[in-house]
Amino acid sequence: MDWIALRLSLELAAWTAAVLLPLGMLIARELAWRPRAGRAWFEAMVALPLVLPPTVLGYYLLSMFGGTTWIGQAYQALVGRPLAFSFQGLLLASVVFNLPFAVQPMQRAFEAIPRDVREAAWVSGLSHWRTFWRVELPLAWTGVVSSMVLTVAHTVGEFGVVLMMGGNIPGQTRTISIAIYDRVQAFDDRAAALMSALLLGFSLVAIAVVYGLSDRRARA
């Protein structure tokens, strides 16, 4: 059992969720409530990681943020180390890859709030900020929790993009899914089986939570 890889995976999942909670919510609210020209393209871009092979996504991320690109060089000049093959690079890839998993459940939840309920809050004197906290979030919380659970579960299980963008550096970019691959390659069946069982249980619980919340919202 590679405990370091498990801890790294959990850290990556926590950071991805921390970034995507505000960012995904911002995008989800925008998509839910502001019909505007080009929305279909914007939605398609957000959803792209769902259909794109992870290797393709990883390739483009490397092409954009690798050490030879100007973004990559600017990052290195600023921070002192390359973005690719680092935890930060991994986080960037994870955020991009998880965007649809974070945005879509929240978007559906915000879309379900009738427009006149929000308007009633404004007419009742509530600022947009108070409307968000007192009306929107309490009504959309199941969608927000679902999206975070999906993001965490998906980050812990992600493989292709992580390998492309992060490589396989123990303690830095080797996540649990890569560690499983590593153990299988090394014929260490016991460790691979243990880690796989752990991921299976974790994913099952996560999906059950998402469906449970979805049922709760449907009944509300």
Partner: protein, 376 residues
Amino acid sequence: MSEGLYARFEQSGPIPLATELRCAPGELVALVGPSGSGKSTILRGIAGLYRPRAGEVRCAGETWFDGVVDLSPQRRRCGLVFQNYALFPHLSALANVTLAAGHVPPGERDTRGRELLELANLAGLEARRPAQLSGGQQQRVALARALARDPQVLLLDEPFAAVDRVTRRKLQRELALLRKRVRIPIVLVTHDLDEARVLGDSMSILHHGHTLQCGSPVEVMTRPASAEVARLLDLGNLFEGVVREHRAERNRTLIGWGDYQLEAVHAPRLKPGDPVNWVIAPEYVVLHRRDRPSQGERENPVSGVVQDCVSLGETTSVSIRIGGRIGEQLAMNIATHHARRNKLAPGESITVTLLGEGIHLMPWGGRHAPPATDSA
């Protein structure tokens, strides 16, 4: 009017608007019109939820909108009851109300909320969520929430549309009582003419975003400004004729209607030879007694055949097909015992008087070619 509400909206699209509205404190103006006539848009414009291209909204001496000033809904002290109430589903009835009482010190909000719920006859139901309340109770919570802001104007968007008939009557009565306690302008959007007539001090008739007529319910119902208004109000006895001459000394204008010449209320704006529309309320149609003709029967006598008689309790509604080349249906209401005494039945020939004081002339606004001018 500086203490009341004044609203004017003008734009050619996307929702065409050409409307003006005045409502004094304590007054209730009913906005009436078919679906899509812009009633709710006007209400939203007043509340700041819709921004028209041009116009003006002033309330209690304060400018809320004039093209330069455009206060947010939060800064306009409006109480708005939405058509489907738009209650906060996750909050109790009390929390729905107290959330709107942000201007009240935190320690007093609860008391204020309870007072308003009591005023809305909801004492004891404070802890219930909207889903646990009936339609009528939800409407009352919505009204209490609208009042929680101590609004300068109360806007009601079809507030009785989603409740059953009995509850509607009860809620309408409660609104009438509430008006005595709350001295602010009230604008009621409705497509129900009876509701507008019963509750409104004045009515504003809207069609395609245009105000067609404003006035007291009696004035609008008996003296519609145009044939279009008469049609929107579903006034039954709407006919076409031609102006023949004015008799100003008798306060009458003579019109031709098929073979008949009728005396109508003087309408000096119309010129002899002009095609016109005219209406007469059923109560101005008087049956000639067959057994005892009287003097008054010389005024606009018209003959026809009874098409049907429908007894509606104490009143009987009679439909008469007018003879000659007119061939149109005329409706009248008479007391049921009167109908019985005169043995009114389908197929019977009768003569009625159209009281001149009840014949209201309007510029012609027919849907087809105007009636031919005659030389009679």
